[in-house]
Symmetry: none
Subunit: 237 residues, 2 copies
């Protein structure tokens, strides 16, 4: 990280930290370790970010389609102009779970020998950090074409998770979703909305739709006295 100019390290539920072996191996870069933030969950680590890319070593049924490292670095840099971004790595042994991958907006793979494709964690971090540096300082990198110009700021991780939680409650309330037999409904919805890369304004609209449906399911309408939460479209434009 430090050789490539990256500084902010977040550690999610590390087994041991600080650890003398880690400090010894960080020779000359222990300032990064000293300044690392320890989080208890991936959600906590991603709080406030607007875009997160996860390293994915293998194909997944669900979850974002992986881009190659070079393209992913360009995408991450472009998003960094709108807010905080993150690169997410799993641990050395097992990588990221599907649930963790689905909390990120995009996935990245490192092109490798198909017969021996598993880079160790340090090597993978090195390559992605290098591609980020190249993307940042290489002469006039091509700007990734974002599908549509954004109307409002990108939604943060916790805003999007809030929407998923709210939608899930509605689906349970209306009998569409049975938590005891979840099938793969929630991952599919994450995959869909993940592709869209929601904006703040859009999350507000979606939550408004869900809140209004919830109140209607409870026999209330937004105008009724019993309504504790307003849920009509209040966006101004």
């Amino acid at each position: 990280m430090k050789t490539m100019g990256l500084q902010r390290l977040m550690l999610v539920a590390p087994q041991r930290f600080p650890d003398p072996e880690a400090t010894a191996r960080a020779s000359g870069a222990s300032d990064l370790l000293d300044a690392a933030t320890v989080c208890s969950s991936l959600d906590e680590a991603l709080q406030g970010t607007v875009f997160a890319i996860a390293l994915s070593a293998r194909a997944r049924d669900l979850g974002p389609e992986p881009a190659q490292a070079r393209q992913a670095a360009l995408d991450l840099l472009a998003r960094a102009e709108t807010g905080e971004v993150a690169l997410v790595f799993g641990n050395e042994t097992s990588g990221l779970s599907n649930a963790e991958l689905q909390r990120c907006h995009a996935a990245v793979t490192i092109p490798a020998n198909l017969d021996y494709s598993s880079l160790n964690l340090g090597a993978a971090v090195q390559i992605l950090a290098y591609e980020l540096r190249m993307a940042a300082f290489d002469a006039a990198p091509p700007r990734p074409q974002l599908a549509t110009p954004s109307l409002s700021d990108p939604a943060t991780h916790e805003e999007i998770e809030g929407f998923y939680g709210h939608l899930e409650r509605l689906m349970i309330r209306t009998g569409f979703h049975d938590p005891a037999r979840p099938k793969r409904l929630l991952p599919k919805l994450r995959r869909l909305f993940g592709r869209a890369q929601l904006e703040k304004d859009e999350v507000n609209i979606l939550r408004g739709i869900v809140a209004a449906a919830e109140m209607a399911a409870e026999g209330r309408t937004p105008g009724q006295a019993g309504g504790t939460r307003g849920a009509a479209d209040k966006s101004n434009n």
Copy 2:
């Protein structure tokens, strides 16, 4: 090396070889170590090559002008069409001497943080091997093995329009949307779902969520006798 598809390793006057620590660290790639050639001098290692590029961490008074890793990888590949080529690395502690550097045809540097530029040997080899792989396969990249194919066919225009219509009815029914004062709610939703490029299966899920919310708003549940349309998640996977 092996993750990037490189196989031939020449070791110049190693202090210890084979070495149990090296073998242990090579997990899964010990075949490369087993097949490594031990040479007594750099000249011997370079015998038969037509082009050699040396990693140079710092500016030298003499010797070739260093190219950046990306360019050097392209150069090395181009030369490889005319004969054997080599990438030359110094040891972890002191790198290459001026005399060794001058035995090579070109030098390469890895762009790095000016305040902390010294990559360890393994990291430097990883980046150069990666750039060689990218240079070799970038022009005609192998089919992305990891890109998850769509789960179902893309939804047709009329399927998507059907969903928009259904969602609009729900939003009116629940009081979230007032057709007399439409603002820009529907165009915003079209923009959101348009970015996601909905698949058939996803449209079915979305319509199921909407149908269940509609029935709940009417005081029915999917299981009730009055329900004319089923609206539980029936997707099979």
